[in-house]
């Protein structure tokens, strides 16, 4: 309502009314233009040239200017413009290079007034002077712009753009003598109408053709340009150098751009290809259009605001042969469909969450636990009341930090860096990794590595020393003891994970699980989330199921024959060592939901009857040969999945790589790929590029290994003139010098270049290292005492 009243004043009492409507034309339109009175619109195309009256409910064809027996190419219009001073005066640009003016005041049926046939190629654009009645400007494919005085038979002056073709010409609204022209080669030129010899100013605005430009109706010197490179740019021409003030990236090449009246920062665009919609942008918010009109079914070729002081009515013509009037209030607003919430988590377990103010307020009221979040920090954007979307834009950002030290991920970094994944025998890899894990205090993981080695490696490599680190020592009491330890360890993890999960959905649980100092936080809400299911199940399966079964059993109850069967299966030559060293209870847990328990576990932790039965039946069959390691693969796979679900993809991927073929076939490609990508993503977030590359290299998944095959080109700039080196080898085009030379061997350095920051001489890493062994002076002979760190 406010707007309407303002419009009314601007229009001098006669408010525009109407509705969103369209009418069918007989042929595709190329351009439209509105009469000064805002009640008529002219539509021009290859085979259409008509004037329509814009009425309340519909368009009414008023006049067909395409008269005559034979269709003439002079009528095949590329552009049309209605004079803003004189209601009877129109001009069209024809595809054959003719500029035609039309006088509606002529009494005869044929309103054609004058014909200028000076251009040799298609005329792309015509433009009347905004205040002068007789001045017409045209821009053509032949690279010339011509200024016509309608009182004379031919052009007054010709401007040469020194370029292939002119795409648009526009008189400045504020400066009487100035006009802008845009070119196919990406340039924009500013001309003074009195000086046809050379342009006042020229700059490159776009990469590729600039299809259109428009002067701001109020702000002097603001020029909007749109180009094939899908950008709309707003330039400030008042400064000595044209300054790019705003840039809007659209999704298709920009065919037309028009400032919205009365809205300083709004402009409407339509595209040349592919995209049929008309967008109205606020140039200060270049990512989401302020409004969008989706009526057309083919590309929009012409747009015009109906009245120079009314921001609500937009007219458009299209290749789909329709003429439309769009009302701003009927526009769809993409911002309404945009996701108003954002969530991101940091490397160290911090979570940031942004949402609309109202939403946050409502939610925190509903959920009492919001107060328990550890360190919620709220940011609020200061709102500029002048800006649009003010209702939508107000949002709150909350950041939840984990306690210092608690969420430290240093173990992850250390592990990633120190794990050995390939290049050594499996047993050594397992041992090494177990050692790494142990040193970082991750006993469960260490134990798993040890188990893996036992499962997959030949017996000769097993030594009692490497097994001697397990947490529980006693053979039968180990299990309950460890279980209780685990319970304690797990509970905070479980609690915090659930909490986090509720707040954001996909927190990485590993950060929390290993969060040793995490305080125990109970679940205020009883809603169970998916993330918490897994550890819960796991604990149940382990403690309640397994333990209940195992606990009543005494070692004596074990079938006396069992060790004899079991040991050969595992092919452990030294029986008593195995008896001495109970398997890691963590390992047992890992496999708790599997019926297969390894022989050594059976020994140490008094097997359940079911287990021993299954073992026995198999061991009979395989008495002489070793139990194939396939036997365990199901188990190992479950273990990997368990780690992955816990969030420790690092473990899953590392084991996957180390074991290679042994387990790969049992896990489906997609899961593997998923693990790999998450691990690589994590590594890269920690800037562990080398490790991540190694993982990519070692992965067998096709989708992953091709990750580092994409865009492997390295672009090099010349070290002297900063120009990009083109394909001409290592010599710069411009300064004809070789790229960085090695000061020692005087060859071009194509790989690692190391240089002294003092004298900026340097060369091949090897060469410099060698040189510095013998001398500390610069190899270039500059006398500098080079220092390298």
């Amino acid at each position: 309502m406010e707007k309407m009243s303002r419009v009314t004043t601007a229009l001098g009492g006669s408010a525009l009314t109407g509705r969103t409507m369209h009418c069918h034309l007989d042929a595709p339109a190329n351009a439209i233009s509105v009469c000064r009175d805002a009640a008529q619109v002219v539509v021009a195309g290859r085979s259409i040239f008509k004037i329509y009256a814009i009425e309340e409910e519909q368009f009414v064809e008023k006049l067909n200017l395409r008269v005559g027996r034979k269709p003439s190419l002079n009528l095949s219009c590329a552009d049309v413009v209605w004079h803003q001073m004189d209601e009877n005066l129109l001009a069209t640009a024809a595809t054959n290079g003719v500029v035609v003016t039309w006088n509606l005041g002529r009494p005869s049926r044929n309103k054609q007034d004058q014909l200028f046939t000076e251009h040799k190629r298609t005329v792309n654009k015509v433009c009347f002077h905004p205040t002068e009645a007789h001045v017409l400007l045209s821009g053509s494919q032949d690279g010339f712009m011509k200024c016509f005085d309608l009182r004379r038979k031919d052009s007054v002056s010709t401007f040469s753009g020194q370029s292939e073709s002119v795409r648009d010409v526009q008189f400045s609204i504020r400066d009487y003598f100035t006009f802008a022209s845009t070119f196919e080669n990406g340039n924009v030129q500013l001309w003074d109408i009195r000086r046809p010899d050379r342009c006042e100013r020229m700059f490159t605005a776009h990469n590729g053709p600039v299809f259109c430009c428009d002067w701001h109706p109020e702000d002097r010197g603001w020029l909007a340009t749109g180009g094939r490179d899908k950008m709309v740019k707003v330039w400030d021409m008042t400064t000595p150098r044209a300054k790019e003030m705003h840039c809007v990236q659209t999704i298709a090449s920009v065919a037309r751009v028009k400032w919205r009246p009365e809205c300083r920062h709004h402009l409407a665009t339509c595209s040349m290809m592919v995209d049929h919609n008309i967008y109205v942008w606020d140039v200060r918010r270049p990512f989401v259009p302020a409004a969008m009109f989706e009526e057309h079914r083919d590309v929009t070729t012409g747009i015009a605001w109906r009245h120079p002081h009314d921001p609500c009515f937009l007219l458009s013509g299209s290749k789909d042969s329709t003429l439309c009037q769009h009302l701003f209030r009927d526009a769809s607003q993409p911002v309404e469909r945009a996701n108003p919430e954002g969530l991101c988590y940091g490397l160290f377990g911090d979570v940031a969450f942004a949402a609309k103010d109202s939403l946050v307020a409502a939610e925190s009221g509903r959920k009492p636990y919001a107060g328990d979040r550890r360190h919620p920090i709220f940011f609020k954007r200061k709102l500029d009341p002048a800006e649009p979307f003010s209702g939508l834009a107000s949002s709150a950002l909350s950041v939840f930090e984990t306690e210092p030290g608690g969420g430290s991920m240093s173990w992850f970094v250390d592990t990633a860096e120190r794990y050995a994944l390939a290049g050594r025998p499996l047993a050594e890899l397992c041992d090494h990794n177990a050692k790494v894990a142990r040193e970082l205090g991750r006993n469960q993981v260490a134990q798993t590595w040890t188990m893996l080695r036992i499962i997959y490696c030949s017996p000769g490599l097993v030594s009692s020393a490497s097994l001697n680190h397990s947490v529980g020592k006693g053979s039968s009491c180990g299990l309950p003891l460890i279980n209780s330890f685990n319970l304690k360890d797990m509970t905070p993890g479980l609690g915090s994970e659930t909490r986090l999960d509720r707040s954001k959905g996909d927190t990485r649980s590993d950060t929390v699980l290993l969060d040793s100092s995490a305080t125990l936080i109970t679940n205020e809400d009883n809603e169970e989330t998916e993330g918490s299911d897994v550890p819960a199940d796991y604990l149940l399966g382990d403690v309640e199921g397994e333990e209940d079964e195992l606990y009543p059993l005494d070692p004596e109850h074990v079938h006396p024959e069992e060790p004899e069967y079991v040991l050969p299966q595992e092919a452990f030559p030294l029986r008593h060592e195995i008896l001495d060293t109970p398997s890691g209870p963590e390992h047992l847990q890992d496999k708790a939901d599997s019926p297969h328990v390894s022989g050594s576990e059976a020994d140490a932790a008094s097997l359940a009857p079911v287990d021993s039965f299954s073992l026995l039946s198999i061991s009979h069959a395989l008495y002489d040969s070793r139990l194939p390691s396939d036997f365990f693969s199901v188990l190992v796979c479950d273990m990997l999945r368990f780690y992955a679900e816990q969030g420790d993809v690092q473990m899953a991927v590392s084991v996957l790589i180390v074991l290679g073929e042994r387990v790969r076939k049992d896990i489906d490609e997609q899961t593997q790929e998923h693990w790999y990508t998450s691990y690589i993503d994590l590594l890269q977030r920690f800037c562990l590029w080398n490790v991540s590359n190694e993982v990519v290299k070692l992965s067998t998944s096709r989708a992953v290994s091709c990750l580092n095959q994409a865009s492997t080109t390295l672009h090099v700039n010349c070290s002297h003139c900063k120009r990009p080196m083109s394909s001409r080898g290592w010599v710069c085009d411009r300064c004809h010098r070789c790229a960085s030379m090695c000061a020692v061997c005087h060859h071009v350095v194509k790989g690692l270049f190391v240089w002294c920051q003092g004298c900026s001489h340097g060369g091949h890493l090897q060469h410099i290292m060698k040189w510095l062994e013998g001398s500390s002076h610069c190899p270039a002979g500059c006398g500098h005492l080079c220092e390298y760190s």
Binding site: P28, R46, K70, S72, L73, N74, S76, A78, A94, T95, N96, G97, T117, H119, K120, R121, T122, Q141, E184, G208, P209, F211, R228, A252, S253, M272, M273, V274, H276, R297, D298, V299, D320, A710, S711, S727, R728, G729
Partner: protein, 552 residues
């Protein structure tokens, strides 16, 4: 004899590092000498069981292939060390009593005397860089490159585009790309391109079975056959139904990006086939028909020469004819320049009426559809290219353009700069830019010379050629007076253009020689560049318009 150790690796030779090349070369030398020794030992033991015969033949065949490749390297490698070493190896093999091959034909082109063409080894630094790039990318320096190097500026853009299309990021797998190249070249029975790409196709791991014919390729590629056919011969018939048929074929469907990649490849190879025939490119030295093991006394002939009616005798005649008419042709150039001057001057004097203009276009279009009398006898494609690729039966009669009505395509409504570019760049990023550059360079290329004249503005002539080709495809520029074409292009030139663009396989040396007799070969190659780029753009416009229509 273990095959593994005799596997020859050529890729080391492509390196820019001379030591790498040297080791690679040495490796090749050893393998060849070993093979030679083996063959000799087989020969010298007189009584061999007969079953050794085929084995022997196989290994001889293998050796011959290697020798042919070496011969190619000795002539065509941009690196001097490789050239010399290859020659040395060949010599030493010859000394061991093995017959070595020698190149057939007369340089890279049958139309252009070898001495006119730049010799490998005498190029300047810029060209050398181009050659080295090309060699590094493909492991060869093909005859097309050697002919195009008349225009290094264009060549660079051409090679960059081709390299991008075949080897860089793109939606299609590598062997598909080469296979599509083969399909396109086979449409014009261009055995030269087919041979090249059959090798590349196998090299990137393509299934040799596919080469037995399109019906052995995956259904997806078979579906492309129709588009290939229409695009090559009557692009104006492409409709959005063609596109829809390709995109909606359930498990065999193409994605839009793949389709655009395929379309660009098809049009690229159609027009490259035009260039191959238009400039009479000879078979590569290491391919079939590029070399012979026969001693030079046997009369040398090339299979392509025969099929195109280019015997040596023929060449002689033309040569003598050329000599006689030097003065005639001198006047030709003068007359052409005079006409250009006139057109320039009287441009503004009298304006033809609209109907006149329209009818001029129609006349040119119709005329270009007419078959040209003498050369139109049906050539039965007897080459083994036709074996590869489906229905030659469909091809030529049905597709003769005689009497066809071609609808008019208004370039102002759909042009490359505004529409085509945007679409290609959207679906196959960067390629739009590359092709756009290539079009620009080809269209704007000029040295401001005409035959013996300097400082001539040739833009009018170039525009006439470009627009004439588009006119043959029914593409009309509203702002062009098609009367100019008649003034500037004489009959023999038109015949040549028409043949090169529409039925390149019928180009003969006589046609090549009989137009623009006084012009330099480099200028004739320039004309060919215009022809192929205009043709490519025309085909692309039709295909892309159909895709756009499908999308809206």
């Amino acid at each position: 004899m273990a095959e593994g150790e005799n596997e020859v690796r050529w890729d080391g030779l492509c390196s820019r590092d001379s030591t790498t090349r040297e080791t690679a070369m040495e490796n090749i030398r050893q393998i060849i000498l070993r093979k030679t020794e083996y063959l000799r030992s087989v020969k010298e033991t007189p009584y061999r069981p007969s079953e050794d015969g085929p084995l022997n033949a196989v290994s001889l065949d293998g050796l011959n292939k290697l020798l042919a490749r070496l011969l190619m390297l000795s002539k065509r490698c941009p690196f001097k060390d490789v050239r010399e070493k290859s020659e040395f190896i060949l010599k030493s093999v010859q000394e061991l009593g093995i017959r070595i091959p020698r190149p057939l034909g007369h340089g890279p082109s049958r139309f252009i005397p070898e001495k006119e063409i730049l010799q490998v080894g005498s190029e300047d630094a810029q060209m050398h860089a181009l050659f080295a790039d090309s060699f590094a990318a493909l492991g060869r320096l093909d005859n097309i490159t050697l002919v195009m190097v008349f225009h290094p500026q264009y060549l660079e853009s051409f090679l960059k585009t081709q390299h991008y299309l075949l080897q860089m990021d793109g939606p299609l797998p590598l062997h598909y790309r080469h296979y599509i190249g083969i399909m396109a070249a086979a449409r014009h029975q261009c055995s030269y391109l087919v041979n090249l790409h059959v090798n590349d196709f196998l090299h990137v791991g393509g299934d040799p079975k596919w080469l037995n014919g399109l019906e052995n390729a995956p259904q997806k590629l078979q579906n492309l056959g129709e588009l290939n056919k229409v695009l090559a011969h009557r692009p104006w018939l492409i409709t959005k139904e063609h596109i829809e048929g390709l995109l909606k074929a359930e498990e065999h469907s193409w994605s839009l990006a793949e389709l655009v990649h395929a379309v660009v490849l098809l049009t690229h190879y159609h027009s490259l086939a035009s260039f191959t025939f238009g400039c009479g490119i000879s078979p590569e030295i290491h391919c079939d028909g590029g070399h012979t093991f026969r001693p030079p006394s046997v009369s040398n002939y090339c299979i392509c020469d025969i099929t195109n009616g280019n015997h040596n005798v023929d060449e002689m005649q033309v040569n003598s004819a050329g000599n006689i008419s030097v003065s005639d042709s001198f006047f030709e150039v003068e007359a052409l320049m005079e006409k250009m001057r006139q057109l320039q001057e009287c441009k503004d004097e009298e304006e033809a009426s609209q109907e006149e203009m329209a009818s001029r276009f129609e006349i040119e279009k119709r005329e270009s559809m007419c078959a040209f009398s003498s050369d139109d006898e049906e050539v039965t494609p007897a080459r083994d290219v036709s074996r590869h690729f489906e229905d030659t039966s469909y091809g030529y009669k049905d597709f003769s353009r005689h009497g066809m009505h071609v609808p008019t395509f208004r370039v102002q409504d759909y042009c490359w700069e505004d529409h085509g570019y945007s679409l290609v760049n959207r679906l196959y990023p960067d390629v739009g830019q590359l092709i756009d550059e290539k079009f620009h360079i080809a269209y704007n290329l000029t040295y401001n010379t005409m035959a013996m004249h300097k400082d001539v503005d040739t833009s009018m002539l170039r525009r006439a050629i470009w627009n004439y080709i588009h006119c043959m495809f029914g593409i009309r520029y509203d702002d062009y007076d098609y009367g100019e074409i008649n003034q500037l292009l004489d009959r023999s030139f038109k015949v040549y253009i028409k043949t090169v663009v529409c039925t390149p396989e019928k180009v003969t040396k006589r046609m090549y020689d009989s137009f623009w007799r006084q012009f330099k070969h480099s200028e004739k190659v320039h004309v060919n560049l215009l022809l192929i780029e205009a043709r490519m753009q025309a085909e692309l416009l039709y295909a892309l318009r159909a895709i756009t229509r499908y999308m809206t």
